[in-house]
Protein backbone atom coordinates (compact mmCIF):
# COMPACT_ATOMS: atom_id res chain seq x y z
CA UNK A 1 0.00 0.00 0.00
CA UNK A 2 2.65 2.47 1.11
CA UNK A 3 4.89 1.41 -1.75
CA UNK A 4 2.19 2.15 -4.31
CA UNK A 5 1.66 5.66 -2.97
CA UNK A 6 5.39 6.26 -3.01
CA UNK A 7 5.56 5.17 -6.63
CA UNK A 8 2.76 7.52 -7.56
CA UNK A 9 4.66 10.44 -6.13
CA UNK A 10 7.25 10.16 -8.83
CA UNK A 11 5.17 11.26 -11.85
CA UNK A 12 3.30 13.73 -9.65
CA UNK A 13 6.50 15.38 -8.50
CA UNK A 14 7.67 15.46 -12.11
CA UNK A 15 4.49 17.17 -13.33
CA UNK A 16 4.49 19.63 -10.46
CA UNK A 17 8.14 20.40 -10.98
CA UNK A 18 7.57 20.96 -14.69
CA UNK A 19 4.64 23.24 -13.92
CA UNK A 20 6.70 25.23 -11.44
CA UNK A 21 9.43 25.54 -14.03
CA UNK A 22 7.01 26.75 -16.70
CA UNK A 23 5.58 29.37 -14.34
CA UNK A 24 8.66 30.42 -12.42
CA UNK A 25 11.39 29.62 -14.92
CA UNK A 26 10.95 32.73 -17.06
CA UNK A 27 10.54 34.86 -13.94
CA UNK A 28 13.74 33.49 -12.47
CA UNK A 29 15.47 34.09 -15.75
CA UNK A 30 14.20 37.68 -15.71
CA UNK A 31 15.39 38.20 -12.14
CA UNK A 32 18.80 36.79 -12.99
CA UNK A 33 19.09 39.11 -15.95
CA UNK A 34 18.46 42.15 -13.77
CA UNK A 35 21.61 41.42 -11.75
CA UNK A 36 23.77 39.89 -14.47
CA UNK A 37 26.86 41.85 -15.44
CA UNK A 38 28.13 39.27 -17.91
CA UNK A 39 26.17 36.29 -19.22
CA UNK A 40 26.49 34.53 -22.52
CA UNK A 41 25.95 31.17 -24.16
CA UNK A 42 26.57 28.36 -23.28
CA UNK A 43 26.70 29.27 -19.58
CA UNK A 44 23.71 28.26 -17.45
CA UNK A 45 24.19 31.08 -14.97
CA UNK A 46 25.59 34.61 -15.23
CA UNK A 47 29.33 34.85 -15.05
CA UNK A 48 29.37 38.10 -13.07
CA UNK A 49 26.77 39.66 -10.82
CA UNK A 50 26.32 43.37 -10.08
CA UNK A 51 24.05 46.37 -10.10
CA UNK A 52 25.72 48.55 -12.69
CA UNK A 53 22.73 48.29 -15.04
CA UNK A 54 20.44 49.47 -12.25
CA UNK A 55 22.61 52.56 -11.99
CA UNK A 56 22.28 53.08 -15.70
CA UNK A 57 18.50 52.70 -15.61
CA UNK A 58 18.10 55.08 -12.69
CA UNK A 59 20.78 57.53 -13.73
CA UNK A 60 19.58 60.99 -14.76
CA UNK A 61 20.62 60.30 -18.35
CA UNK A 62 18.86 56.95 -18.53
CA UNK A 63 15.31 57.41 -19.76
CA UNK A 64 13.71 54.69 -17.62
CA UNK A 65 12.56 57.10 -14.93
CA UNK A 66 11.21 59.46 -17.52
CA UNK A 67 9.35 56.58 -19.18
CA UNK A 68 8.01 55.45 -15.83
CA UNK A 69 6.68 58.94 -15.17
CA UNK A 70 5.12 59.08 -18.65
CA UNK A 71 3.54 55.68 -18.08
CA UNK A 72 2.09 56.68 -14.73
CA UNK A 73 0.77 60.01 -16.03
CA UNK A 74 -0.87 58.23 -18.98
CA UNK A 75 -2.30 55.54 -16.69
CA UNK A 76 -3.71 58.04 -14.19
CA UNK A 77 -5.29 60.17 -16.94
CA UNK A 78 -6.69 57.00 -18.52
CA UNK A 79 -8.25 55.96 -15.21
CA UNK A 80 -9.81 59.41 -14.69
CA UNK A 81 -11.24 59.56 -18.20
CA UNK A 82 -12.41 55.93 -18.23
CA UNK A 83 -14.14 56.26 -14.85
CA UNK A 84 -15.69 59.58 -15.82
CA UNK A 85 -17.37 57.65 -18.63
CA UNK A 86 -17.88 54.34 -16.81
CA UNK A 87 -19.53 55.67 -13.63
CA UNK A 88 -22.55 57.29 -15.33
CA UNK A 89 -22.68 54.54 -17.98
CA UNK A 90 -22.43 51.77 -15.42
CA UNK A 91 -25.05 53.37 -13.21
CA UNK A 92 -27.48 53.81 -16.10
CA UNK A 93 -26.87 50.26 -17.30
CA UNK A 94 -27.34 48.77 -13.84
CA UNK A 95 -30.78 50.38 -13.57
CA UNK A 96 -31.91 49.38 -17.07
CA UNK A 97 -34.11 46.43 -17.90
CA UNK A 98 -32.21 43.25 -18.67
CA UNK A 99 -32.40 42.43 -22.42
CA UNK A 100 -31.30 45.93 -23.37
CA UNK A 101 -28.47 45.87 -20.89
CA UNK A 102 -26.77 42.73 -22.17
CA UNK A 103 -26.86 44.16 -25.68
CA UNK A 104 -25.17 47.40 -24.67
CA UNK A 105 -22.61 45.61 -22.51
CA UNK A 106 -21.84 43.41 -25.48
CA UNK A 107 -21.32 46.48 -27.65
CA UNK A 108 -18.49 47.56 -25.37
CA UNK A 109 -16.73 44.30 -26.24
CA UNK A 110 -16.68 45.07 -29.97
CA UNK A 111 -13.33 46.93 -29.92
CA UNK A 112 -11.81 43.79 -28.37
CA UNK A 113 -13.30 41.56 -31.04
CA UNK A 114 -11.10 42.92 -33.84
CA UNK A 115 -7.37 42.29 -34.13
CA UNK A 116 -5.61 45.14 -32.35
CA UNK A 117 -3.09 45.93 -35.02
CA UNK A 118 -5.29 47.15 -37.91
CA UNK A 119 -7.49 49.07 -35.47
CA UNK A 120 -4.52 50.93 -33.98
CA UNK A 121 -2.96 51.57 -37.37
CA UNK A 122 -6.19 53.22 -38.46
CA UNK A 123 -6.46 55.19 -35.23
CA UNK A 124 -2.86 56.34 -35.70
CA UNK A 125 -3.63 57.49 -39.24
CA UNK A 126 -6.68 59.41 -38.04
CA UNK A 127 -4.88 60.89 -35.03
CA UNK A 128 -2.06 61.98 -37.31
CA UNK A 129 -4.55 63.95 -39.38
CA UNK A 130 -5.98 65.77 -36.38
CA UNK A 131 -2.62 66.25 -34.69
CA UNK A 132 -3.14 63.86 -31.80
CA UNK A 133 -0.33 61.53 -32.81
CA UNK A 134 2.65 61.65 -30.49
CA UNK A 135 0.72 63.42 -27.72
CA UNK A 136 -0.10 62.20 -24.22
CA UNK A 137 -3.80 62.81 -24.94
CA UNK A 138 -3.62 60.60 -28.01
CA UNK A 139 -2.12 57.71 -26.04
CA UNK A 140 -4.63 58.25 -23.22
CA UNK A 141 -7.52 58.09 -25.69
CA UNK A 142 -6.26 54.82 -27.15
CA UNK A 143 -5.86 53.36 -23.67
CA UNK A 144 -9.37 54.50 -22.72
CA UNK A 145 -10.96 52.70 -25.68
CA UNK A 146 -9.10 49.62 -24.56
CA UNK A 147 -9.86 49.94 -20.83
CA UNK A 148 -13.44 51.11 -21.12
CA UNK A 149 -14.81 47.61 -21.50
CA UNK A 150 -13.41 46.58 -18.11
CA UNK A 151 -14.40 49.87 -16.53
CA UNK A 152 -18.00 49.73 -17.75
CA UNK A 153 -18.53 46.06 -17.07
CA UNK A 154 -17.16 46.19 -13.55
CA UNK A 155 -18.88 49.51 -12.77
CA UNK A 156 -22.20 48.08 -13.96
CA UNK A 157 -21.70 45.08 -11.71
CA UNK A 158 -20.73 47.31 -8.80
CA UNK A 159 -23.86 49.44 -9.15
CA UNK A 160 -26.06 46.38 -9.70
CA UNK A 161 -24.98 45.02 -6.35
CA UNK A 162 -26.39 48.12 -4.63
CA UNK A 163 -30.03 47.37 -3.92
CA UNK A 164 -32.34 49.99 -5.41
CA UNK A 165 -34.32 49.99 -2.14
CA UNK A 166 -31.34 51.63 -0.45
CA UNK A 167 -31.46 54.49 -2.90
CA UNK A 168 -35.23 54.81 -2.71
CA UNK A 169 -35.07 54.87 1.07
CA UNK A 170 -32.93 58.01 0.80
CA UNK A 171 -35.25 59.52 -1.80
CA UNK A 172 -38.29 58.90 0.36
CA UNK A 173 -36.92 60.84 3.32
CA UNK A 174 -35.94 63.87 1.29
CA UNK A 175 -32.78 63.26 -0.74
CA UNK A 176 -32.76 64.44 -4.36
CA UNK A 177 -31.51 61.99 -6.99
CA UNK A 178 -27.96 63.38 -7.01
CA UNK A 179 -27.73 63.51 -3.24
CA UNK A 180 -28.95 59.93 -2.91
CA UNK A 181 -26.39 58.86 -5.49
CA UNK A 182 -23.58 60.69 -3.71
CA UNK A 183 -24.46 59.60 -0.18
CA UNK A 184 -25.73 56.08 -0.71
CA UNK A 185 -25.06 54.50 -4.11
CA UNK A 186 -21.55 55.79 -4.73
CA UNK A 187 -20.03 54.85 -1.34
CA UNK A 188 -21.61 51.39 -1.55
CA UNK A 189 -20.34 50.83 -5.09
CA UNK A 190 -16.91 52.30 -4.28
CA UNK A 191 -15.04 49.00 -3.74
CA UNK A 192 -16.16 47.75 -7.14
CA UNK A 193 -15.31 51.08 -8.77
CA UNK A 194 -11.88 50.99 -7.18
CA UNK A 195 -11.32 47.53 -8.60
CA UNK A 196 -12.40 48.80 -11.99
CA UNK A 197 -9.98 51.74 -11.71
CA UNK A 198 -7.14 49.38 -10.87
CA UNK A 199 -7.88 47.16 -13.85
CA UNK A 200 -7.84 50.16 -16.15
CA UNK A 201 -4.61 51.41 -14.55
CA UNK A 202 -2.86 48.08 -15.05
CA UNK A 203 -4.15 47.69 -18.59
CA UNK A 204 -2.82 51.14 -19.42
CA UNK A 205 0.53 50.45 -17.79
CA UNK A 206 1.02 47.28 -19.84
CA UNK A 207 -0.47 48.47 -23.11
CA UNK A 208 2.00 48.27 -25.99
CA UNK A 209 0.47 48.14 -29.49
CA UNK A 210 -1.60 51.31 -29.25
CA UNK A 211 1.17 53.26 -27.52
CA UNK A 212 3.60 52.16 -30.19
CA UNK A 213 1.50 53.35 -33.13
CA UNK A 214 0.07 56.50 -31.56
CA UNK A 215 2.75 57.51 -29.06
CA UNK A 216 6.20 56.51 -30.34
CA UNK A 217 8.65 58.06 -30.51
CA UNK A 218 7.46 61.23 -28.75
CA UNK A 219 5.56 59.59 -25.91
CA UNK A 220 7.83 56.92 -24.55
CA UNK A 221 6.02 54.66 -22.12
CA UNK A 222 7.72 51.93 -20.14
CA UNK A 223 6.61 49.04 -22.41
CA UNK A 224 8.04 50.98 -25.39
CA UNK A 225 11.33 51.35 -23.58
CA UNK A 226 11.23 47.67 -22.77
CA UNK A 227 10.66 46.88 -26.42
CA UNK A 228 13.51 49.10 -27.56
CA UNK A 229 15.88 47.65 -24.97
CA UNK A 230 14.79 44.08 -25.66
CA UNK A 231 15.07 44.34 -29.43
CA UNK A 232 18.46 46.01 -29.03
CA UNK A 233 19.71 42.93 -27.17
CA UNK A 234 20.04 44.86 -23.94
CA UNK A 235 18.46 42.22 -21.73
CA UNK A 236 19.56 43.78 -18.46
CA UNK A 237 17.76 47.07 -19.17
CA UNK A 238 14.73 45.19 -20.49
CA UNK A 239 14.55 42.97 -17.41
CA UNK A 240 14.89 45.83 -14.96
CA UNK A 241 12.14 47.71 -16.80
CA UNK A 242 9.95 44.63 -16.73
CA UNK A 243 10.53 44.37 -13.00
CA UNK A 244 9.44 47.98 -12.59
CA UNK A 245 6.24 47.13 -14.45
CA UNK A 246 5.68 44.07 -12.29
CA UNK A 247 5.67 45.93 -8.98
CA UNK A 248 2.45 47.94 -9.45
CA UNK A 249 0.81 44.91 -11.07
CA UNK A 250 1.41 42.66 -8.10
CA UNK A 251 0.52 45.37 -5.60
CA UNK A 252 -2.76 46.15 -7.30
CA UNK A 253 -3.65 42.48 -7.77
CA UNK A 254 -3.57 42.16 -4.00
CA UNK A 255 -5.79 45.21 -3.60
CA UNK A 256 -8.23 43.99 -6.26
CA UNK A 257 -8.43 40.62 -4.62
CA UNK A 258 -9.38 42.36 -1.40
CA UNK A 259 -11.97 44.76 -2.82
CA UNK A 260 -13.64 42.86 -5.62
CA UNK A 261 -16.15 40.90 -3.59
CA UNK A 262 -17.95 37.83 -4.86
CA UNK A 263 -21.31 39.58 -4.98
CA UNK A 264 -19.88 42.16 -7.38
CA UNK A 265 -18.03 39.59 -9.48
CA UNK A 266 -21.14 37.48 -9.90
CA UNK A 267 -22.87 40.42 -11.57
CA UNK A 268 -20.16 41.16 -14.15
CA UNK A 269 -21.68 41.03 -17.62
CA UNK A 270 -25.25 40.58 -16.41
Amino acid sequence: MMARIDLWWLPRALVLGLLAFVIFGPLTNLLLWTVAEKWYFPHMLPLEYGFSFWQRVFSPRGNAMESLMTSIIVAVLTVILALALAVPAGYALSRLKLPFRSLILLAFLIPQAFPNLPVYVNIARFFYQIGLNGTILGVVLVHVTHGLVYAVWIATAAFSSVDIDLEEAARSIGAGPLRAFRDITLPLAAPGLLASAIFVFLESLDEFTGSYFVGAPDVNTLPLLLYTAGSGGNYQIASITALLLLIPSIGFMLVVERFLRADVLSKVGH
Binding site: R171, S172, G174, G176, P187, L188
Partner: protein, 369 residues
Amino acid sequence: MNDQAFLKVERMSVGYGSTTVLDNLDLAIHKGEFVALLGSSGCGKTTLLRTIAGFSKPFNGSIHVANRDVTQMPPDKRGMALVFQSYALWPHMTVAQNIGYGLKLQKRSKDVIDARVNEMQNLLGLGGLGARKPAQLSGGQRQRVALGRALAIDPEILLLDEPLSNLDARIRLTVRHEIRSLQKRLGITAIHVTHDREEAMVMADRIVIMNAGRIEQQGTPEEVYNKPASPFVAAFMGAENLLSMQARVNGDQIELAEGAFNPSTVTARSGRSLASGPVQLRFRAEAARLAGSRDTASAEPGSLELRGQIASVSYPGGHWRHAVRLGTDEILVDADTAFAEGETVKVRIPAQSLFIFNAPQGSAAAPAH
Protein backbone atom coordinates in the same frame (compact mmCIF):
# COMPACT_ATOMS: atom_id res chain seq x y z
CA MET B 1 -65.13 62.67 -2.38
CA ASN B 2 -64.78 63.94 1.12
CA ASP B 3 -63.19 67.39 1.25
CA GLN B 4 -61.83 66.74 4.71
CA ALA B 5 -59.55 64.03 3.37
CA PHE B 6 -55.86 64.61 4.04
CA LEU B 7 -54.62 62.27 1.35
CA LYS B 8 -56.83 62.00 -1.68
CA VAL B 9 -56.27 59.59 -4.56
CA GLU B 10 -58.66 60.20 -7.43
CA ARG B 11 -59.40 58.09 -10.52
CA MET B 12 -55.83 56.87 -10.55
CA SER B 13 -54.55 54.25 -13.00
CA VAL B 14 -51.08 52.81 -12.65
CA GLY B 15 -49.23 50.14 -14.58
CA TYR B 16 -45.97 49.01 -16.08
CA GLY B 17 -45.64 49.12 -19.86
CA SER B 18 -48.90 47.87 -21.28
CA THR B 19 -50.15 46.12 -18.14
CA THR B 20 -52.47 48.05 -15.88
CA VAL B 21 -52.09 47.22 -12.20
CA LEU B 22 -54.49 49.74 -10.71
CA ASP B 23 -57.50 50.92 -12.65
CA ASN B 24 -59.45 54.07 -11.83
CA LEU B 25 -58.87 53.86 -8.13
CA ASP B 26 -60.23 56.28 -5.54
CA LEU B 27 -59.07 56.47 -1.96
CA ALA B 28 -59.38 59.11 0.75
CA ILE B 29 -57.51 59.06 4.04
CA HIS B 30 -58.02 61.39 6.99
CA LYS B 31 -55.38 63.05 9.08
CA GLY B 32 -54.18 60.81 11.88
CA GLU B 33 -55.85 57.75 10.43
CA PHE B 34 -54.15 54.36 10.29
CA VAL B 35 -55.21 52.60 7.10
CA ALA B 36 -54.26 49.07 6.16
CA LEU B 37 -54.14 48.04 2.51
CA LEU B 38 -54.95 44.35 2.67
CA GLY B 39 -54.83 41.83 -0.13
CA SER B 40 -53.03 38.79 -1.45
CA SER B 41 -49.82 39.19 -3.42
CA GLY B 42 -50.25 40.75 -6.84
CA CYS B 43 -53.44 42.62 -5.93
CA GLY B 44 -51.78 46.01 -6.44
CA LYS B 45 -51.47 47.11 -2.82
CA THR B 46 -47.71 47.67 -2.98
CA THR B 47 -48.07 49.46 -6.33
CA LEU B 48 -50.65 51.76 -4.74
CA LEU B 49 -48.27 52.51 -1.87
CA ARG B 50 -45.31 53.12 -4.18
CA THR B 51 -47.41 55.41 -6.36
CA ILE B 52 -48.47 57.42 -3.33
CA ALA B 53 -44.80 57.58 -2.31
CA GLY B 54 -43.84 58.78 -5.80
CA PHE B 55 -41.81 55.80 -7.02
CA SER B 56 -44.35 54.87 -9.68
CA LYS B 57 -46.02 57.43 -11.92
CA PRO B 58 -49.73 57.03 -12.61
CA PHE B 59 -51.01 56.92 -16.23
CA ASN B 60 -53.77 59.26 -15.14
CA GLY B 61 -55.62 60.44 -12.08
CA SER B 62 -54.29 62.57 -9.26
CA ILE B 63 -52.91 62.43 -5.73
CA HIS B 64 -53.49 65.33 -3.33
CA VAL B 65 -51.99 65.81 0.12
CA ALA B 66 -53.68 68.55 2.17
CA ASN B 67 -55.13 70.00 -1.06
CA ARG B 68 -51.68 70.14 -2.65
CA ASP B 69 -51.33 68.27 -5.93
CA VAL B 70 -48.35 65.95 -5.56
CA THR B 71 -49.06 63.70 -8.58
CA GLN B 72 -46.00 64.82 -10.54
CA MET B 73 -43.73 65.51 -7.56
CA PRO B 74 -40.59 63.44 -7.00
CA PRO B 75 -40.58 61.22 -3.89
CA ASP B 76 -38.28 63.52 -1.91
CA LYS B 77 -40.63 66.49 -2.17
CA ARG B 78 -43.77 64.76 -0.91
CA GLY B 79 -43.22 64.95 2.83
CA MET B 80 -43.79 61.22 3.22
CA ALA B 81 -41.51 58.52 4.54
CA LEU B 82 -41.54 54.93 3.37
CA VAL B 83 -40.49 51.98 5.51
CA PHE B 84 -39.36 49.17 3.23
CA GLN B 85 -40.08 45.49 3.59
CA SER B 86 -36.34 44.86 3.37
CA TYR B 87 -35.77 47.79 5.82
CA ALA B 88 -33.20 49.14 3.31
CA LEU B 89 -30.83 50.31 6.04
CA TRP B 90 -27.59 51.77 4.72
CA PRO B 91 -24.87 49.29 5.61
CA HIS B 92 -22.07 51.88 5.51
CA MET B 93 -23.73 54.11 8.12
CA THR B 94 -24.21 53.56 11.83
CA VAL B 95 -27.63 53.35 13.45
CA ALA B 96 -27.38 57.00 14.49
CA GLN B 97 -26.32 58.07 10.99
CA ASN B 98 -29.18 56.10 9.46
CA ILE B 99 -31.74 57.74 11.74
CA GLY B 100 -30.19 61.19 11.42
CA TYR B 101 -29.77 61.21 7.64
CA GLY B 102 -33.15 62.80 6.88
CA LEU B 103 -32.41 65.64 9.30
CA LYS B 104 -28.96 66.10 7.81
CA LEU B 105 -30.66 66.58 4.46
CA GLN B 106 -32.80 69.29 6.04
CA LYS B 107 -29.54 71.00 7.07
CA ARG B 108 -30.39 70.96 10.77
CA SER B 109 -27.62 71.76 13.23
CA LYS B 110 -25.63 68.91 14.70
CA ASP B 111 -27.14 69.48 18.17
CA VAL B 112 -30.68 69.25 16.84
CA ILE B 113 -29.86 66.08 14.93
CA ASP B 114 -28.15 64.45 17.93
CA ALA B 115 -31.08 65.30 20.19
CA ARG B 116 -33.63 63.95 17.71
CA VAL B 117 -31.64 60.78 17.06
CA ASN B 118 -31.41 60.19 20.80
CA GLU B 119 -35.11 60.77 21.20
CA MET B 120 -35.86 58.27 18.43
CA GLN B 121 -33.50 55.68 19.87
CA ASN B 122 -35.14 55.95 23.27
CA LEU B 123 -38.62 55.91 21.80
CA LEU B 124 -37.86 52.71 19.89
CA GLY B 125 -35.78 50.98 22.54
CA LEU B 126 -32.54 51.34 20.61
CA GLY B 127 -30.66 53.14 23.38
CA GLY B 128 -26.91 52.48 23.30
CA LEU B 129 -26.97 50.99 19.80
CA GLY B 130 -26.25 54.28 18.00
CA ALA B 131 -22.69 53.38 17.05
CA ARG B 132 -23.51 49.94 15.65
CA LYS B 133 -23.73 49.13 11.98
CA PRO B 134 -26.98 47.56 10.70
CA ALA B 135 -25.22 44.23 10.13
CA GLN B 136 -24.67 43.96 13.89
CA LEU B 137 -28.38 44.22 14.73
CA SER B 138 -31.14 41.63 15.07
CA GLY B 139 -34.09 41.63 12.69
CA GLY B 140 -36.34 43.35 15.19
CA GLN B 141 -33.76 46.05 15.89
CA ARG B 142 -33.24 46.69 12.18
CA GLN B 143 -36.97 47.04 11.74
CA ARG B 144 -37.03 49.66 14.49
CA VAL B 145 -34.09 51.55 13.00
CA ALA B 146 -35.97 51.66 9.69
CA LEU B 147 -39.01 53.00 11.52
CA GLY B 148 -36.91 55.52 13.44
CA ARG B 149 -35.28 56.75 10.25
CA ALA B 150 -38.72 57.38 8.75
CA LEU B 151 -40.18 58.96 11.90
CA ALA B 152 -37.18 61.21 12.57
CA ILE B 153 -38.14 63.61 9.79
CA ASP B 154 -41.65 63.94 11.21
CA PRO B 155 -43.35 62.93 7.95
CA GLU B 156 -46.86 64.05 7.11
CA ILE B 157 -47.65 60.51 6.03
CA LEU B 158 -45.89 57.34 7.10
CA LEU B 159 -45.94 54.58 4.50
CA LEU B 160 -45.27 51.01 5.64
CA ASP B 161 -44.60 48.31 3.05
CA GLU B 162 -45.09 44.99 4.84
CA PRO B 163 -42.60 46.04 7.50
CA LEU B 164 -43.33 43.04 9.71
CA SER B 165 -43.15 40.23 7.18
CA ASN B 166 -39.45 39.55 7.77
CA LEU B 167 -39.78 39.21 11.54
CA ASP B 168 -40.25 36.10 13.68
CA ALA B 169 -43.88 35.35 14.42
CA ARG B 170 -43.46 36.15 18.13
CA ILE B 171 -41.66 39.46 17.67
CA ARG B 172 -44.18 40.38 15.02
CA LEU B 173 -47.03 40.29 17.53
CA THR B 174 -45.36 42.77 19.88
CA VAL B 175 -44.10 45.06 17.09
CA ARG B 176 -47.66 45.34 15.77
CA HIS B 177 -48.76 46.91 19.00
CA GLU B 178 -45.63 49.03 19.27
CA ILE B 179 -46.17 50.57 15.86
CA ARG B 180 -49.85 51.10 16.50
CA SER B 181 -49.37 52.83 19.86
CA LEU B 182 -46.53 54.93 18.45
CA GLN B 183 -48.73 56.04 15.58
CA LYS B 184 -51.52 56.96 17.99
CA ARG B 185 -49.17 58.80 20.30
CA LEU B 186 -47.55 60.82 17.51
CA GLY B 187 -50.82 61.31 15.66
CA ILE B 188 -49.27 60.41 12.29
CA THR B 189 -51.27 59.47 9.25
CA ALA B 190 -50.14 56.00 8.27
CA ILE B 191 -50.74 53.62 5.38
CA HIS B 192 -49.75 50.05 6.02
CA VAL B 193 -49.53 47.41 3.30
CA THR B 194 -49.98 43.84 4.44
CA HIS B 195 -51.27 40.46 3.35
CA ASP B 196 -51.84 39.40 6.96
CA ARG B 197 -55.51 39.73 7.88
CA GLU B 198 -54.95 39.63 11.62
CA GLU B 199 -52.19 42.23 11.40
CA ALA B 200 -54.52 44.56 9.53
CA MET B 201 -57.34 43.92 12.01
CA VAL B 202 -55.36 44.73 15.15
CA MET B 203 -53.43 47.70 13.75
CA ALA B 204 -55.73 49.67 11.50
CA ASP B 205 -58.55 52.16 12.00
CA ARG B 206 -59.73 51.28 8.54
CA ILE B 207 -59.04 48.32 6.32
CA VAL B 208 -58.99 48.66 2.55
CA ILE B 209 -59.30 45.25 0.96
CA MET B 210 -57.88 45.05 -2.54
CA ASN B 211 -58.30 42.44 -5.22
CA ALA B 212 -56.99 42.49 -8.81
CA GLY B 213 -56.18 46.20 -8.74
CA ARG B 214 -59.53 47.30 -7.34
CA ILE B 215 -60.78 48.15 -3.88
CA GLU B 216 -63.23 45.41 -2.92
CA GLN B 217 -64.34 46.97 0.33
CA GLN B 218 -63.19 49.43 2.94
CA GLY B 219 -64.35 49.94 6.49
CA THR B 220 -63.47 49.41 10.12
CA PRO B 221 -62.07 46.00 11.03
CA GLU B 222 -65.44 45.12 12.54
CA GLU B 223 -67.34 46.11 9.41
CA VAL B 224 -65.24 44.15 6.96
CA TYR B 225 -65.22 41.17 9.28
CA ASN B 226 -68.93 41.03 9.98
CA LYS B 227 -70.38 42.58 6.83
CA PRO B 228 -68.22 41.48 3.91
CA ALA B 229 -69.48 43.13 0.74
CA SER B 230 -68.35 40.45 -1.71
CA PRO B 231 -67.56 36.73 -1.76
CA PHE B 232 -63.87 37.62 -2.09
CA VAL B 233 -63.89 39.71 1.07
CA ALA B 234 -65.86 37.04 2.93
CA ALA B 235 -63.34 34.38 1.91
CA PHE B 236 -60.37 36.62 2.63
CA MET B 237 -61.75 37.44 6.08
CA GLY B 238 -61.92 33.75 6.91
CA ALA B 239 -65.42 32.69 5.84
CA GLU B 240 -64.12 29.80 3.83
CA ASN B 241 -67.07 27.44 4.09
CA LEU B 242 -68.93 27.65 0.81
CA LEU B 243 -72.38 26.27 -0.09
CA SER B 244 -74.50 26.84 -3.18
CA MET B 245 -78.27 27.24 -2.89
CA GLN B 246 -81.29 28.76 -4.56
CA ALA B 247 -82.79 31.87 -2.99
CA ARG B 248 -85.94 33.88 -3.50
CA VAL B 249 -85.95 37.48 -2.37
CA ASN B 250 -89.27 38.59 -1.00
CA GLY B 251 -89.37 42.16 0.27
CA ASP B 252 -87.25 42.23 3.43
CA GLN B 253 -86.86 38.50 3.53
CA ILE B 254 -84.76 35.90 1.81
CA GLU B 255 -86.06 32.38 1.40
CA LEU B 256 -83.42 29.74 0.96
CA ALA B 257 -84.93 26.80 -0.93
CA GLU B 258 -85.04 23.35 0.63
CA GLY B 259 -82.08 21.23 -0.39
CA ALA B 260 -80.83 17.70 0.19
CA PHE B 261 -79.31 18.69 3.53
CA ASN B 262 -81.42 21.58 4.75
CA PRO B 263 -85.04 22.52 5.22
CA SER B 264 -86.39 25.67 3.62
CA THR B 265 -85.25 28.66 5.67
CA VAL B 266 -86.40 32.24 5.81
CA THR B 267 -83.88 34.82 6.97
CA ALA B 268 -83.81 38.62 7.13
CA ARG B 269 -82.44 40.48 4.15
CA SER B 270 -80.78 43.06 6.47
CA GLY B 271 -80.07 45.56 3.73
CA ARG B 272 -78.31 43.14 1.40
CA SER B 273 -78.70 43.84 -2.28
CA LEU B 274 -79.55 40.42 -3.54
CA ALA B 275 -81.53 39.07 -6.51
CA SER B 276 -83.51 35.84 -6.62
CA GLY B 277 -81.63 32.92 -8.15
CA PRO B 278 -78.57 30.82 -7.39
CA VAL B 279 -76.61 32.11 -4.38
CA GLN B 280 -73.35 31.44 -2.56
CA LEU B 281 -73.42 31.02 1.18
CA ARG B 282 -70.28 31.65 3.16
CA PHE B 283 -69.61 31.31 6.88
CA ARG B 284 -66.73 30.81 9.30
CA ALA B 285 -65.95 27.53 11.00
CA GLU B 286 -66.17 29.19 14.42
CA ALA B 287 -69.50 30.90 13.70
CA ALA B 288 -71.44 27.67 13.14
CA ARG B 289 -72.71 25.50 16.00
CA LEU B 290 -72.69 21.76 16.06
CA ALA B 291 -75.40 19.65 17.70
CA GLY B 292 -76.18 15.94 17.83
CA SER B 293 -78.88 14.66 15.50
CA ARG B 294 -81.31 14.11 18.39
CA ASP B 295 -80.81 17.62 19.73
CA THR B 296 -84.28 19.12 19.75
CA ALA B 297 -83.47 22.68 20.78
CA SER B 298 -85.30 24.77 18.21
CA ALA B 299 -83.12 26.84 15.93
CA GLU B 300 -83.04 30.60 16.41
CA PRO B 301 -85.23 32.40 13.91
CA GLY B 302 -83.43 33.07 10.67
CA SER B 303 -80.59 30.66 11.29
CA LEU B 304 -79.78 27.97 8.78
CA GLU B 305 -79.76 24.36 9.84
CA LEU B 306 -77.83 21.74 7.92
CA ARG B 307 -77.65 18.01 8.40
CA GLY B 308 -74.43 16.17 7.69
CA GLN B 309 -71.96 13.56 8.81
CA ILE B 310 -68.69 14.07 10.62
CA ALA B 311 -65.90 13.12 8.19
CA SER B 312 -62.91 13.88 10.41
CA VAL B 313 -61.99 15.57 13.67
CA SER B 314 -58.82 17.47 14.58
CA TYR B 315 -57.67 19.61 17.47
CA PRO B 316 -55.91 22.81 16.29
CA GLY B 317 -56.01 24.18 19.86
CA GLY B 318 -58.80 25.71 21.93
CA HIS B 319 -61.62 23.87 20.19
CA TRP B 320 -62.27 20.81 18.06
CA ARG B 321 -62.44 21.25 14.32
CA HIS B 322 -64.83 18.98 12.48
CA ALA B 323 -65.03 18.36 8.77
CA VAL B 324 -68.73 17.80 8.08
CA ARG B 325 -69.73 16.11 4.85
CA LEU B 326 -72.81 17.29 3.00
CA GLY B 327 -73.03 15.05 -0.07
CA THR B 328 -69.98 16.04 -2.12
CA ASP B 329 -69.34 19.25 -0.18
CA GLU B 330 -67.36 19.41 2.98
CA ILE B 331 -67.50 22.22 5.53
CA LEU B 332 -65.45 22.93 8.62
CA VAL B 333 -67.22 23.54 11.92
CA ASP B 334 -65.68 24.21 15.34
CA ALA B 335 -67.15 22.91 18.59
CA ASP B 336 -66.06 22.84 22.23
CA THR B 337 -66.57 19.10 22.46
CA ALA B 338 -65.55 16.46 19.98
CA PHE B 339 -68.12 14.52 17.98
CA ALA B 340 -67.37 11.02 16.76
CA GLU B 341 -66.37 10.36 13.19
CA GLY B 342 -69.35 9.17 11.13
CA GLU B 343 -71.87 10.66 13.54
CA THR B 344 -74.84 12.46 11.99
CA VAL B 345 -74.97 16.04 13.22
CA LYS B 346 -76.88 19.26 12.84
CA VAL B 347 -74.99 22.41 11.90
CA ARG B 348 -76.67 25.67 12.83
CA ILE B 349 -75.47 28.95 11.39
CA PRO B 350 -76.92 32.09 13.01
CA ALA B 351 -78.43 34.65 10.65
CA GLN B 352 -75.80 37.33 11.35
CA SER B 353 -72.94 34.95 10.55
CA LEU B 354 -74.37 33.87 7.24
CA PHE B 355 -72.96 35.73 4.25
CA ILE B 356 -75.17 35.43 1.17
CA PHE B 357 -74.11 36.58 -2.29
CA ASN B 358 -75.52 36.10 -5.77
CA ALA B 359 -73.53 33.34 -7.45
CA PRO B 360 -71.03 34.94 -9.82
CA GLN B 361 -71.64 34.56 -13.55
CA GLY B 362 -69.53 31.74 -14.95
CA SER B 363 -69.49 30.34 -11.42
CA ALA B 364 -65.74 29.94 -10.45
CA ALA B 365 -65.76 31.00 -6.84
CA ALA B 366 -63.36 33.61 -5.56
CA PRO B 367 -60.16 31.86 -4.53
CA ALA B 368 -59.58 31.60 -0.83
CA HIS B 369 -56.29 33.09 0.26
